[in-house]
Amino acid sequence: MRTLREWTHRLGGALSRGRGDRDLEEELKLHLDLAAEDARGGGRPPDEAARAARIRSGGVLQAMDALRDQRSVPWLEHCAGDLRLAFRTLRRHPGFSAVVVLTLGFGMAINTATFSLVNAVLIRPLGFREPERLVALHEHLGLEAGPFSPPDFLDLERDQQSFEGVAAYANVAFELSGQGEPIRLDVAKVSANLFQVLGVGPILGRTFTAEEDRPGANVAVLGWGLWQSRYGEDPSIVGRRITLDRQPYTIIGVMPAAFEFPRRGPPTNNKPAAVWVPMAFTNAERQGRGSQYNRGVVARLREGVTLDQAAGELAVLASRINANYPAELREAKISVRLSARSLREEIAGRIERPLWLLMGAVGLVLLVTCANVANLVLSRVASRTREIAVRTALGSSRGRLLQLLLAEAAVLSAAGTLAGILASRLIVGAIPATMGRALPGVRDLSIDPRVLAFTAAIGIATSIFFALVPAMAIDWRVPGAALQEEVSRSTPGRRRHRLQAGLVVSTVTLAVVLLVGAGLFVRSFSALLATDAGFNPDRVLTASLTLPRAGYGTAASVRAFHRALFTRASSLPGVRSAALVTDLPLESYEHRVLSAEDLGQAATTTASTNLSWVYGPYFPTLGIVVRSGRVFSEVESDQSRNVVVVNDRLARTFWPGQDAVGKRIRWGLDIAGNNNPWLTIVGVIADVVDGPLGAEPLMHAYEPFSQFSDDVLDNFPGAFGRHVKLAIRTDADPRAFASGLRAEIGVIDRQLAIESMATMADRVGDVVAPRRFSVMTLGGFATGSLLLAAIGVYGLLAFNVAERRREMAVRLALGARPSVILRMVVGDGLRLVSIGLAAGTLASYGVARAVGSLLYQTKSHDLVTFGTVPIVLVLVTLTACALPAYRASRVAPIVSLRGD
């Protein structure tokens, strides 16, 4: 405690200099005077008395030194001096300093930016209370973990013991109308207890009560974003009525800004909601056993219950749920399993590996930049050998010299770190636009204290590195040697040379690893783009709409809208054809189990089939190739004829090697109770990608919308069957048709919100955007490090040549041909490059195997990549060797006679 007090005083003394030197000297002088007076009192003459006093009391200078040390923190004072000196030295070498700061800044910037991504997605807390107890629950039909069917969720909710609470949620899109333009909102239907399970309360009003979790309650909780943007943070919003999907809802609460749910990341129910409404299961949903597997479930583990224990209970519950399935479903061997995983894993699990990969890549780039900067620093040490020798001769200890080097390194690193942080702000600002939709947590990407601490830690590590490298290069044993001019010039520190060569080799090695990594991803990406997606996106414009239940309550009104939109869109000038569909390529809408006629055991598979409903000439509009048979006729668009078009995959699954046209299928299992009509296959089309580009195509069937159940449109709640995607194939740039199309939609229904309007090419672009982003960044990193490696090679050779000018001149004077010198220098460079290349190829083989699973149709030992990288590397570094080599061969022989 007292010592602490002393040190605060001392620290204060270091900063403010405490009691002044004059003050202290005066006190000492008095002491000496009094001592001298005493001595004179003893009868000595004045000068002898003064001498005696000095002997008795010690010297003023020594006392002052001791006092100064006591007054403040000695090394801190040295530090300040060193930093000032370092700053001055570096300012005298602006070129050197600028290159170092820029190189370092580049490495720091991409590391900071990438870490802020890792921080946002993987490290930052989820924003829920005790998130480690939150788990996501899944129901498995077959192998895949997926969302829950409502009756199964209700069974789970009733019987489970492991959780404090379980809550279901599902994303829906609602039309918000009333004041201003109608807009589409991402809404989540949630169990009343969702907010308790997550442990987050409203900032205004309240959340749902259990009584409100039933059909017709019509209450809503607002998200902060919508409250702010649409209602101007109106504090009296609670109790107000809003119109959602043309139904009145009462606002009962507002959630805080940081609350985001559902989170991006999982494959389904992954759209952060602007408004939450009660789940309110209908009776049909409560009893729809074996259907509607689309409710996400989040649960909070009871205190002290582990994930494993919960999984044990879920296994028991699953068998009970299976027992509740109707007999015909059990006969068809439909069975479910339940599983749980941590919510964090659910949200970030899929992105974790690619992110760490990216972090690894930028880490390598940082190493490359560091090696390069260390090389520069080393070159400077060479020119400072004499300065260091003088300092040593004047009595600087090795520690003090190290401290001086450290101060310089610290100034450089600090400047580089600062530059990096500033640049990273720009990068971070650009990230969400590029890949916002793909990453969970990117909404609030920011450079927070944790990111700053990370960057500062790198900065400190690099400055120690930059201080130690030159320290290693200095020959401490013979401090005086460097003072002897001749010695210093003819033996240019072998130790430093070996260090520099080592650094260049490691730069090349790292660059090779990055180049191979980037090369593999470029190959994978081009393979992805080259895959046949099964449709032609050129000159196609699309629009997404959802018909609200309130305005389109009957099947007749939905069908009338389809007809009107189809007619108006088709007759726009310049439109070749138009069609409506429930889901465009790269999307999927409805999944069903089907059975084929007359195939016995092979008639059913548990694999589900995608089903799309089309209106109008969908296949020609999207440029989908017909393999056999025909597409739907105009009559079939409006009248049910029980026809179906299937994709190649489906046809091959049930009728391998045969023509499927004329065969019949029906929805549901091949069991007695199935009353679904048989549908005749009229055509087989090429496989169209339903998921992300590169995903395996699934079985897919298309029915005319005329065959869609009137009963569902008339009586079922929700938007099922009311989603409309319009596609038009045009003569010219499809973008030019957007405003015309908007106008036509407005004529049909002025209130109707258009969710999105985009060309099909843009939709494809959006789907591959995250991959494009990672390929571009990796490519950028690899190119950057290749350049840095080349600069490193160039720098080392240029420096060596400058150092050996006299040797070259002597050789030339003795008759060496310039080409020999040229070859010698280039050979020096290539030797380093080939060592780096060999090491890098070995290392990258390991890296490639580690990332193999992230590649699409590209082997981890891809010959094209492993063959191209060395060629590119050698070509680039050869260029880097050329200039120093040329200079060396042109040294004038006269140089051999000159001094410095």
């Binding site: 007292r2 007090r5 005083h9 008095l30 010690g58 010297g59 001791a66 040390d69 006591q70």
Partner: protein, 122 residues
């Protein structure tokens, strides 16, 4: 002839100074407690006098010690005038200085008793 003890570190050799430093702190505190506020030279003179000239404290030791004690809040220094009307810096014990002295004295007594018992008992 009797040995003369010198508490000092004319250069910054700190070899045995640590033990002695602790003793010096105690001596200074005790002196100020017995005689009231004193300037630096008066403290040295008093120590010499009490030790019969065996104890010489030079400035390089005394003043850093005074500064340290001041930094720790055990002393407070202020400029004043001596009897001969000279400007001098006087040091006075603070309340926590008095408490520290009492504590150190007990520790010293205990230590001395142990040493005595040890040296005699053997």
């Amino acid at each position: 002839m009797e040995a003369r003890y010198s508490i000092g570190m004319p250069n910054r050799e700190q070899a045995k100074a640590d033990v002695m430093q602790g003793t010096l702190d105690l001596m200074v505190l005790q002196t100020l407690s017995a005689l009231g506020p004193l300037h630096g030279y008066a403290i040295t003179s008093r120590l010499e006098q009490v030790s019969g000239g065996a104890l010489q404290v030079n400035m390089g030791t005394l003043y850093p010690a005074l500064m340290r004690l001041e930094q720790r809040g055990l002393l407070r220094g202020h400029w004043g005038t001596t009897d001969n009307n000279r400007k001098a810096r006087f040091y006075a014990l603070t309340a926590s200085g008095r408490r520290e002295l009492a504590r150190e004295r007990r520790a010293w007594d205990r230590m001395a008793a142990i040493m005595q018992a040890l040296l005699r008992g053997a």
